[in-house]
Structures are given as C-alpha cells and as structure tokens.
Amino acid sequence: MALPDRTAVSRREFLKAAVAVGGTAGLAACMEELGTEADAEIPRGDSSGLPERQHAWNAVLKTDDDGNDVPPRHHVLRYVDLADGIDPADAREPLESALTALESAIRWGPDGLLFTLGYSPTYFARFDESLPSSVDLPEPTQLTPLEDGLALDETDLLIHLASDRPDVLLAAEKALFVDRETINEIEITSLSKRFDTASESRRTGFVGAGLPAEKQDVAGISGDSPVPEAAPFFMGYRSGFARTQATEDRVTIGDGPFAGGTTQHVSRIELQLNAWYNQEDHVQRVAKTFSPRHAAEGLVEGVGDNLTNDSKIVPEDVADLVDSARRDGVVGHAQKAAAARENGEPILLRRDFNTTDDDKAGVHFLSLQETIGDFVAVREAMTGEEIADGSGVGPRLNNGILQYLFVRRRGNFLIPPRVCRSMPTPAGTTAEGQ
C-alpha cells in the first residue's frame, strides 16, 4: 500500500492512509501534513496516577450528546512475538521502561494516546506453571461452521494503540517498534531488539462518522459510494450505544493475581456489502441490524441517530428468538445480542473498528470481557444455530447480518492490570519482581 497523492484526496483521508501505511513514511507524511499547525504539538503526559486497569479508557473518552462514549478514531494493532532466545524476565524491565516513558511523553487520552498490552495463551505456555483459575484464556478456536478456513492469531503479545490523532499514533508506534525516539523531550527506547515485529502482523483501522464513507473504495463495497456519510461503521448504522455496552467493571477480572485485568478477543472480519447496499433497502437492513419490529415501526432513522443511547430492544423482542424467527422470517443482530445479556446487562465491551487492510472492507472486532467464555457465549448467540435449525431463517440468510460477515482470523489475549502488564508470569509477576 502506498500513500495517495496528497492533492487527490481530503486531508482526513490522507491522514487515515498515513496510519495504514505506518512506519517512517507514514509518520513523515503525517508530520508534514500537520507540521505547520499549532495543534501538531503532542500533549505531554504523566506516567503517575494512571488507572490500575489498562483498559480503563472510558473516563478519558469524550462522550457524545447522548452520553455514549466516543471511541478514538484511529487504531493500530501490533501482533508481536518475543524474539528468539529472549527470556520474558529479561525483557520485562526494558518493556516497562519504554511504556512508562511513552506515558510520560504523551497524555493518556484520545487526544494523546491510549494503549493496552495483551498476552496470548501461546505466551503463557512457555512457563511451567499455569494461569490461575481466576483467568479464563483458552486458545482461540473455530466457533461455528461458518468459519471454515479460519486462521488463528497466536503471537505472544497484542499491543492495541488508539488515538484521535494519526500523527500521535504513528509517533508512538515508531518509538516502540522502530527506533529510539524523543517525544516531548522524553527518550523512549524501542523494543525492536527484543521483539519480533513482522510488518504483516500490523493491522489498522478507524471508527467514527465520516471515516467509513471516505474509505469505501475497497473490495467488498461496490456501487455508487453507498456508505452513508454519517455512518461510524461500514455497515451504515451506529452501534456501541451506552446501554448495549458492558461497563468496564463488568469486564474486569475480580480476583487472583490478574484482578483489575480483562480478557481481549480480536476477530478479523471481512465484509461483503455488495448485496447489503445494492440489493436491499433500509427497511430490510434495519430488520437485520436491529429487529423486524424496528423495521415495521420505523424506529431507525438514517444511521440511527434517533436511537440516542440504546438499540431500543425490548424484552418481547428477545423472549423466544426461535419463535420470532418462525413468525417474522428474520432475526435482527441487536435482538440476538440482547438475548446474550446476563440479568439484562451486556457482558461485552466492544472496542471494534473498521479496516481497509489488504484493500478489503472489514472490521477488527475487538471486545473486552471478564472471561473468553463470555465472548464465546455471545458469539454462539450471534451464530443463532437454534434459530437456523428451528425456522426458515438460515445460518446466514435473514440471520442478523451474518450474510455479510466472513471471520478470517481470531485471537484471545489477557490484558493484565497495569502493575503487571510487562511480561507477566502466570502468577502475575510485576516489573518489580513481586
């Protein structure tokens, strides 16, 4: 992938492309684009007083007029392995130093930088001891028959970097993975010697009104620029409503050495929206995204702005999904998601974002939950196997939005609490060796 001609695209699109390109070239392009502006200054951070939970982002996220948390607009996922011959204990201190320096250099927040480090089952497998029972972190696996050909992400670490500012994201990434970097007079020593950071394990994305519409000239989307300008996601509707999201408390591990941590699941999902946009109308899309009742009652206007902070699913919509499917001939995505709640509360905290990696429309479906089992339960509900077995609704056809999604990769990670985020042992050893 190459940078587009600056004169041919909007500034937003150019910056988005710069994130996707990454590396020195992407950063240079970003800096050049933003260099003459006052706001190009990176807000300085403070590594003290940061939350115990790495995933405690909500407190610093902006909220929209309806009280929904607004996710950072730009994202990078770096899947990295500990380099051959490097012992986790030897990498612990350098990693923690780099992370602390990064936090001192860049403000913790969407105008600066937010990040998490997650560790895979593969990482923990090198230790003699096992993870405690308070942590549910199975190997990733195929979960439905629709996932034939699924590839598994089994690198040691997943580092998720997010910011509203592409230049900040790229500067942080460069500091961590490419070369020694000084940001706000703070020197950050890169991890390049201790980690294997193959470039193909870099994934990128974006979320927020306007971005998907700008980036829709990719495989999987055809027709006359069908993605609405106001849509935060490629599918064309808002999601991640406050009332459909688990709280950070709900997804946080409660006890054991990783108390204050969470588990992270990331799926790479390819989208095929030719049929979605060119062969269906708004009413059909609303029925499949929300519920047939939403479609019949006209509850969703445009991209769903009138939904404020909730998908407006009511208990009757989820009382008996097989029965609904037999009667309605279609079951909505939000209906199935709501059926997977516990005591009426969502159990996943979604931090997913759109992608055009490999020039294909897609989603990096990133979710946080207390246990990977919670993710599996929701995924099973979304698969709707009972619905397909018991009605005319198919495994994909009229079964939420499954007709348009192709899951290609999947990985599970443990995001430890901040205190032991650097190369933890299964017993939660901290950087200070506690």
């Binding site: 060119n278 269906e280 009229n398």
Partner: protein
C-alpha cells in the same frame, strides 16, 4: 483518479501481481470505460417489468438467456453453474419482497444448481453458500442468495462484480445438508463441499443481454409460468438456451390428471407450443422438475389446497412407512411447491394444528421441519400420533419462503393464508 485506486484497478493490480490468472484481454487503463458500458442498445431486460403483476405466479416479460458451464463435482454434490447478464431479482425479508437492481458494477448474474450426481435431483442446498472470486488472489467472498426462478427452479444466485473482460476463477461452497434425510438420502450429503470453475467474461458474454427474446407483450403478467429448462440435460448447451430445441413439452398429457390447480385459477390451459410461448398453466411432466406430482407422493394424499399460489400437497404416512421411527403414529408431510413447475420452496415456516369435533382445544399442535426423501422429495414433515379420520388439519405458514425470486415469482408465495384439510387416515 491519480493514485486513489478504484476498486476495479485494485483488483487488476493485485491479479497482475499475483500472476495467478490468465488476463488475456484485460488491458484496461484508467481511461477505459468499464466494458460493461459498451453493450447498451435499446433492449435492456433489467428495465422491462410487468406493471401491477398479479399476486400469483405470472408469465414474465422474457426468458433468460444464459451460458451453461460444465458441471463440476464437489464432494458428494454436483454443481451446475450458469451465468448471464446482471439482472434484477427480489430479496425477501419477512413477507416483503424487495427489488434488487444490479449495481453499476455487477458484471454477471451467477447461478449454481446443486444436485445429486447419482439421480440428477436438485438438492435444497440453502446453507453454507459462498462464492469466492479469485480464490488464490484477492479472494473476495460473497454469500449468494438461495433463489427460485421459473426456468431454473431452486438454485444459488447473485449479481457479482468481477471487472473487465477476462477469465475469472470462482470457488463455490455449499454446507452439509443439515436437514432430516430419509430413504436413499439417509446418511448422504453430510459434509460441506466446494468446487472451482472458471467463467470467461468477454464481449459475447456481455452481449447476452441483447439476445433476450421477449414474449408477446399481451402475455406479460398472465397467470402461468415458463417451463423449467433443467430437464434439457446438463452441459448440452454451447451458447444459450434456444427456444427451438425444446420439443419435449409437446407432451403434456399430465395436465388433465392434475387439473386441480387450473381449477383454482379458473383459468384455461394456456399452454401453447408455437412461436415463443414456452409457458402455460398446465402441470409439467413428472420427469422434468424438482418435486414429484402430488398424486405420486407416497402415503395417503390429504389434498392439494393452494396458499399464496403455492400448491400445498399434503400426505400422511403410516407407522409402517420408513418415516415413522417406532410402530405407532403418523408422519405428516407437507410438500409446498410452485404451481405449474412443481419447484421446491425452501426456507419457509410451517405449523400444523388438528382439531376434532367435541374438543375445545386442538389435539395436535406441531412445527414442521424440512426434510428430504427420494420419493417424497423435499418437504416439511413432523411425526404425530393423535389423529383420527375426519379431524380438521390446519396447515399454516407463519413466514413465507424467504428465497429470493426471479421475475414472475416475486409476487407469489408471500401472503400465505392457512389451509384446511380433512384428515383421512392411511
């Protein structure tokens, strides 16, 4: 457009880099208009529709012209691929059929009939459907629609964007037949399968849409259907279906024996062997289509009422039959089918209730599931016990078949009222 690659250019670039496909004839530059714009003219089948069509199966404006590709084997299945110009069809969500016009970027309408290579019988392959364009390169996946058309019957289809002229590798997958299978189908088709074939898009292909022959306009929208083409045999067609070669349908003696559907329409037999008219209201011969005639169904035929213009052939099989596991009770089989052509109607919901004189509550209240048998064909069935002759059986359709429809089927099989039958025990 400078370096902002269009989707088409991305595809070409990637293909060229991968070197996995023969790209003869694929020489577009940024300045080229997409080749599909080259074939225009005043005949555009995507724009000819019947105004105010009846809420029933009707004679469309034209029969489709298509390229028949060689059948390919895929595990236990056989795929019969066909391709034609992108054209409109209707997708069904709930009881709404919504017109889907081709996007400007679609290059072909792909159709695949999935069948049993041993018998040639069309299989209700409605799950696990995927078409991957250029599987070794860009590998762009589509979930095609399970679809019905008068000429093709039940098949998998979609309008697909491909690109400029060239040879395209396609991989098609179907899931296991995860429905109950009786008789000779027991234990068969338990694994998903895929197969590849190539489709050449050239100017001749794009000209197919100019070769469409329209029926006389006076017949558009009449009750009736084009006859199925699948009985012509597979692989026998080089270019497109030629209406002059279909001599079979002179023999339609069956229609007198199956007059019940005609009666429902208060409609004479319109069948006409002359000229372009390859449609009519008679029932087709038993060997030419997907489901057996109602009179040939095993068991005791309970009746053939219609609902939403579908014929609801209903039969009851005793405990002696292979459909009943155990030595008591009955198997109630409902075989909804298109009128005239006896095409299958997958993806619908069917309930059955039975009421008996002297009982205030229904004595049977069952949900039927779809199933396959070599004699019953594709049907919906349920095992039930408490039946007596004279009981009133109500077969209802909480949701109609959500298969997509080609022209002539989009107004039928949507508004489906319950039908009543009187039980006659085997």
């Amino acid at each position: 457009m400078n370096e902002t690659l269009s989707r088409r250019r991305v595809l070409q670039t990637t293909l060229a880099a991968g070197g996995s496909l023969a790209l003869a004839g694929c020489t577009a530059t940024d300045d080229d208009e997409p080749a599909d714009d080259e074939v225009t003219g005043d005949i555009d089948p995507t724009s000819r529709v019947v105004e105010n069509p009846p809420a029933a199966v009707y004679v469309p404006t034209h029969a489709e012209v298509m390229r028949h590709l060689d059948p390919v084997s895929a595990g236990e299945f056989e795929f019969v691929p066909m391709a034609t110009y992108p054209h409109r069809f209707w997708n069904v969500t709930g009881d709404r059929a919504v017109e889907a016009e081709p996007s400007g970027q679609d290059d072909a309408h792909l159709m695949i009939t999935v069948r049993d290579p041993e018998t040639g019988i069309v299989l209700p392959a409605r799950n696990g459907l995927e078409i991957v364009v250029d599987p070794d390169g860009t590998a762009e996946s589509h979930s095609p629609w399970p679809m019905i058309s008068q000429g093709m019957g039940f098949h998998i289809g979609d309008n697909i964007p491909l690109g400029d002229n060239g040879t395209y590798e396609l991989e098609v997958s179907v899931g296991a037949l995860d429905i109950e299978r009786f008789g000779e189908y027991a234990g068969r088709f338990e694994e998903s399968a895929s197969a590849r074939f190539s489709l050449e898009i050239d100017d001749d292909f794009r000209r197919l849409l100019t070769e469409v022959e329209y029926f006389d306009e006076e017949h558009w929208g009449e009750l009736g259907a084009i006859e199925p083409m699948m009985h012509h045999g597979h692989g026998a067609h080089g270019g497109h279906d030629d209406h002059d070669d279909d001599g079979h349908h002179d023999d339609h003696s069956g229609h007198d024996d199956h007059g019940h559907h005609d009666d429902d329409h208060e409609h004479g037999d319109h069948h006409d062997d002359h000229g372009q008219r390859r449609f009519g209201t008679h029932e087709r011969d038993s060997d030419v289509t997907e489901l057996p005639p109602a009179d040939d169904l095993p068991g005791t035929l309970q009746g053939t009422p219609t609902s939403g213009d579908a014929v609801i052939a209903t039969t009851l099989l005793s405990a002696e039959s292979r459909f009943v596991d155990g030595d008591s009770g009955y198997y109630l089989a409902v075989s909804p089918r298109t009128p005239y052509n006896r095409g299958m109607l997958p993806t619908m919901t069917i309930d059955a209730t039975v009421e008996r004189e002297g009982h205030t509550e229904s004595v049977v209240d069952e949900q039927l599931s779809d199933a396959l048998d070599h004699e019953l064909g594709y049907h919906y069935g349920v095992h039930t016990t408490d039946l007596e002759s004279g009981d009133t059986l109500t077969v209802s359709f909480p949701s109609p078949p959500s298969v997509s429809r080609h022209q002539g089927y989009e107004t039928a099989f949507l508004d489906m009222e319950p039908v009543e039958l009187t039980i006659e025990l085997p």
